[in-house]
């Protein structure tokens, strides 16, 4: 395994050649904000929050899908990056209907936390107030499309860890939405195993346990972490 040396935020870092900039930064204790990234499932670079600057390149690069390279010089914080990251979060808030005060995930939401971290005290863009649906047809879970940020974590965790692939993406642009099976009510899905990994993986309150009230739903990630550890390190002892 070849080792690469590079510089992230003025720190000299060595990383394995197959590692991404995000993994190398995290290992060195350098925080890069993420939203669609979830450790243990594939990276898609969809949310663009982990964009970083690489010396010699005029464009910005998503750290979660950019491999380390010898001699690379990376900057994870700058006024330009801060501006874009805040704008991304503002766009997510303006695009959906995110009413934190009445959300099951209030206080346990990655979108809400990112807004705080990035200093978003208000949204400068015009709210779109889309008319989106809520699917409560499943016995145990619910899906509120108003709160969905289209990160696709549910799609990937269901496909890659559970092997069921009941979730997928349909539509284009502002009509994009996640669907279950052949775009049918979740409760009628013959392939859903009701394992709940999508509930754990969701960064917001979009996928939730039925019966949760405001601020009650904590994202329980231990089962996902257990499976990831079993797959990657072949350790499955309790």
């Amino acid at each position: 395994m070849a080792v690469k040396t590079l510089i992230i935020d003025d720190q000299l870092i060595s990383a394995l050649e197959e590692e991404t900039l995000l993994q190398a930064a995290q290992a060195a204790g350098i925080h890069i904000p993420t939203l669609c990234y979830l450790e243990g499932i594939s990276e898609v670079g969809a949310c663009r929050l982990c964009l970083v600057e690489i010396a010699g390149s005029s464009k910005l690069h998503p750290a979660c899908v950019t491999k380390v390279a010898e001699g690379m010089s990376v900057r994870t914080q700058s006024d330009r990056l801060q501006k874009y990251r805040r704008l991304i979060i503002e766009m997510l808030f303006a695009e959906g209907n995110h009413i934190c005060a009445v959300c099951v995930a209030n206080g346990h939401c990655e979108l809400q936390q990112l807004a705080m971290d990035l200093g978003m005290d208000h949204v400068t863009l015009e709210y779109q107030f889309p008319n989106r649906l809520v699917d409560l047809s499943h016995d145990r879970f619910g899906m509120d499309h108003n709160r969905c940020v289209l990160c696709t974590r549910c799609i990937r965790v269901c496909d890659e860890l559970e092997g069921a692939h009941i979730w997928d993406m349909a539509g284009r642009g502002t009509r994009s939405q996640v669907i279950t099976d052949l775009n049918q009510p979740w409760g009628t899905s013959p392939t859903c195993t009701s394992c709940g990994k999508c509930v754990a993986a969701c960064p917001t309150g979009a996928i939730f346990h039925q019966g949760s009230t405001v601020g009650e739903m904590v994202h329980e990630r231990t089962r996902i972490e257990f499976i990831v550890n079993a797959r990657q390190n072949h350790q499955w002892q309790f």
Binding site: A101, Q112, H122, Y127, P130, N131
Partner: protein, 180 residues
């Protein structure tokens, strides 16, 4: 030092932000020594006065009266604080927006979801007409600072007022700008 002229305004919100203001408890006595409260739902003043130094505006812009009022407030105030999630985002007050406009909202509230005696309100000029779309305050007038929260805690309200009493601009971060 001259006393600051303070006002608080209640638009399309539940008054929870004002309840949280009252949660300042004994600090209200200290505040009362340093400000003249010139307009507020907590006092008896009918007309919004001129030359207000600081105003806390609770609530979204949801009807014609709010729209008229916020324009008066902006014209007569130096420093306008968007106070709480309804003022900052529209929040629960704006939950009706995906229905589209005023008529579907009235239809749903007074007809579709009515248990008995369904009837659309027809009397004119008793309650102000709804706007088709509820908006945050900053979508209508310029806002000088935002204090999110549903409601903002008394500590965060104090963190805004304390620097303003000294003539400084407050800076909020972390949990002080948490939505919800």
């Amino acid at each position: 030092m001259p006393r600051i002229k303070l006002a608080t305004v209640w638009l399309g919100g539940c008054s929870g932000c004002h309840m949280s203001f009252l949660d300042l408890d004994e600090w209200l006595f200290e505040l009362a020594e340093q400000v003249d409260l010139v307009y507020s739902p907590l006092m008896d003043a009918k007309v919004y006065p001129n030359e207000v130094d600081v105003v806390l505006v609770e609530g979204a812009i949801a009807n014609q009266d709010h729209l008229t009022m916020i324009q008066t407030v902006r014209a007569r105030s130096l420093f306008l604080v968007s106070f709480g999630d309804c003022a900052v985002t529209g929040n629960v007050t704006a939950l009706r927006n995906p229905l589209g406009s005023t008529q579907p909202v009235l239809q749903r509230s007074y007809m579709d979801l009515s248990d008995h005696h369904s009837q659309m309100p027809t009397e004119q000029e008793i309650v102000p007409p709804l706007l088709d779309r509820v908006t945050p305050v900053h979508a209508v007038v310029a806002v000088d600072m935002w204090l999110p929260g549903c409601p903002p805690s008394a500590d965060h309200i104090r963190a805004v007022l304390t620097p303003l009493l000294r003539g400084d601009i407050p800076h909020l971060e972390g949990y002080a700008i948490k939505f919800g």
